[in-house]
């Protein structure tokens, strides 16, 4: 490689590499290091190696095999899974519908899907609070139409609604991208060979759009596990997720090493999940498209 090419590569790759180093690798390393240091009263760490955070994370609380932290872990994973599933149920037909529209209409629909991003997520979540409040829009309407009011704010249902609402575009976009690439002649070919609508979907459309489903799930699942705003505002702090636990450790509890240990364990879990996904993707890619 010539000197000039090297210089050009450094120039082109430098900013990206620097960004990753500064804002991804360094903080990540910091979190890992902090997780094995000693807690300092009033926040921060003492530079003394101490694995007690991990011990605390995995030791059972009196009587119960699973401690409270594990409950929050499990809840975060479960809700992330539930959110992904609901987003998929709503997002797939929507993405399919958009992909079937004529080209000029498609971009309008995609624009509509993206419009919520123009407003701050915090503001939008507060808007949901006003809708779901006991005296909010939903209950006012229910009452006007002669139904019982429902207590929905500060329940898991409210949190789920908020999570699905916030994540839906991240599901719709990759799904749209893969459905739009689908060759609809294949649908006709399958029907021609005797496949009814359900079989066509199961045997042709679903496997061929699986990469979009995978990408959508990854894009929804991972951010949702770390959600902080939605459970705080719509769950009223009663339904803690991982984000709330972290905020508590770094905030009121002032236990930075423990907060870091939680982050590390979660990072490992999610990375394992993504690696698993990418590997299965590659296998499909090699054999299929």
């Amino acid at each position: 490689m010539t000197q000039r090419r090297k210089a050009l590569l450094a120039f082109l790759l430098g900013p990206g590499a620097g960004w990753l180093l500064l804002f991804f690798l360094l903080p990540g390393a910091l979190v890992i290091v902090y997780s094995i240091l000693t807690r300092k009263d009033g926040g921060g760490v003492e530079w003394i190696v101490d694995f007690s955070s991990y011990v605390k994370l995995f030791s059972p609380t009196d009587g119960a095999v699973i401690n409270d932290f594990m409950v929050i872990f499990a809840r975060s994973l479960w809700w992330a899974a539930l959110t992904s599933f609901v987003c998929l149920l709503i997002g797939y037909p929507l993405a399919y519908f958009i992909a079937l529209q004529p080209a000029h209409v498609r971009s309008t629909y995609l624009f509509l899907v993206l419009i919520p991003f123009w407003t701050n997520f915090l503001v939008r979540t507060y808007a949901w609070k006003f809708i779901l409040n006991n005296n909010g829009l939903l209950n006012t309407l229910l009452q006007d139409w002669g139904f019982e009011r429902i207590a929905i704010i500060n329940t898991p249902t409210a949190v789920l609604i908020g999570l699905v609402y916030g994540s839906l575009p991240f599901m719709v976009l990759p799904l749209y991208a893969s459905i739009e690439k689908l060759d609809f002649d294949l649908v006709e070919a399958a029907q021609d060979l005797g496949a009814n609508y359900l079989s066509v979907f199961r045997r042709i459309i679903l496997p061929l759009t699986a990469p979009g489903i995978g990408a959508g799930i990854v894009l929804v699942f991972i951010p949702v596990t770390g959600q902080y705003i939605v459970p705080t505002i719509l769950g009223g702090g009663k339904v803690a997720m991982l984000g709330n636990l972290l905020a508590q450790q770094f905030g009121p509890a002032l236990n930075w090493p423990f907060g870091s240990a939680i982050s590390v364990i979660f990072m490992v879990l999610l990375m394992a999940a993504v690696v698993f996904y990418l590997r299965s993707e590659n296998r499909d890619g090699e054999a299929g498209l």
């Binding site: 002649d185 294949l186 399958a190 029907q191």
Partner: protein
């Protein structure tokens, strides 16, 4: 009761918005027949095929398969299979799974499926390709697999939508013969869509020529070639001389016309009006050139002219002969012997043809 036709279209019309793709087409295709729908792109031939397959529903009229009205049935309830122009093989399935797809949908047991898939892959001469994915095959191989995927189901009718269009010339010629042979073996009715007139002539038992959504003529390749029903058919299939003429008189399908002062005899299936203008159509190879003092054949009419152009084309020579001012006729003579090439530019010759090959076409 045995149906008269395997496929029957009764006054079928198809609109797409304000566009009429198929206009009042009635057609019967017999069991075991190799039937081609021929026409330029946009003539409605593919729409016709898609209506038989069930991908499009006719706006009016009905479609019968084996005498049963299937006009409103979805594709998966019709006992027909299609070979698509771009093959439409399932990219995520192996060749075997592609071929097995239709049988699986019918719920046939696994052992029987495996046996029939194997047989069919042998039939299309790709017995070892089962484990491959479609993207590992060449264009010609994909074409065979698309064919295998359809015929493994033993459909009542096989629909082929320009299946050879994407192949190069040599492979296409080989596949034409192979397809024809396969059709003979299977004795399945083939409905074959093509814009290639030569392909249609070579392969078909009968041809339906379409233009602008209208079925112009149905007949054997020889009938369509030798007795085109109208100007479009005469023009679309093969080369034809069109000599502008005036109808002098007509009776029982035979007419006399005037071409720039020359009176010629010709046949016609169209409704003629005396004294109206029309065209006399005659194919270049039906015309014979004669030197002076050649004995006269009683079935022929002869006219004198001057050779104004000659092009040597290997197997034959193409001459342009001027019969009168602005009346030129193209003649093709096989280069059978030395005598065949004796005509030279500027030479005065006689042109003659058997009157059965001359057609009067009004439109």
């Amino acid at each position: 009761m045995a149906a008269t036709f395997d496929v029957e279209l009764r006054t079928v019309t198809k609109h797409f918005g304000s566009f009429t793709a198929v206009k009042d087409v009635s057609l019967g295709i017999r069991q075991g027949e190799f039937f081609s729908l021929l026409g330029p792109s946009g003539c409605g031939k593919t729409t016709n095929l898609r209506m038989i397959a069930g991908f499009e529903l006719p706006t009016s009229g009905s479609i019968l398969l084996g005498g049963k009205d299937v006009s409103q049935l979805p594709p998966f309830k019709r006992n027909v299979n299609t070979v698509f122009q771009n093959y439409a093989l399932f990219p995520h399935l192996s060749v075997s799974d592609n071929v097995a797809f239709g049988l699986e949908m019918k719920g046939i047991d696994k052992a029987e499926i495996a046996k029939r898939v194997k047989e069919t892959l042998e039939m299309v001469r790709l017995p070892d390709s089962g484990k491959k994915k479609p993207n590992q095959l060449s264009g010609g191989q994909r074409q065979r697999i698309a064919l295998a995927r359809a015929i493994v189901n033993r459909p009542q009718v096989l629909l082929l939508d320009e299946p050879l269009g994407a192949l190069d010339l040599k492979l296409r010629k080989a596949m034409q013969l192979e397809l024809k042979e396969l059709q003979r073996q299977l004795a399945i009715t083939f409905v074959f869509v093509t814009h290639d007139q030569e392909e249609a002539l070579v392969m078909s038992d009968r041809i339906g020529v379409m233009d602008h959504g209208v079925l112009r003529q149905v007949g054997t390749p020889a009938a369509i070639y030798d007795r085109p029903a109208d100007r479009f058919v005469a023009d679309f299939i093969g080369d034809t001389n069109f000599l502008p003429c005036r109808v002098v008189d007509h009776r029982n399908g035979t007419a006399h016309v005037q071409v720039a002062g020359l009176t010629m005899s010709a046949s016609s299936d169209q409704t003629l009006t005396d004294n109206s203008s029309a065209y006399l159509a005659i194919r270049p190879e039906k015309v014979q050139l004669y030197g002076p003092d050649t004995p006269h054949n009683p079935n022929e009419e002869r006219f004198a002219g001057v050779i104004v152009e000659t092009v040597f084309m290997g197997t034959d020579t193409r001459y342009v002969v001027e019969l009168a001012e602005d009346i030129q006729i193209v003649v093709r003579q096989q280069n059978r012997n030395i005598a065949s090439t004796r005509f030279a530019l500027g030479q005065t010759v006689d042109v003659g043809w058997e009157t059965v090959f001359a057609r009067v076409l009004v439109s």
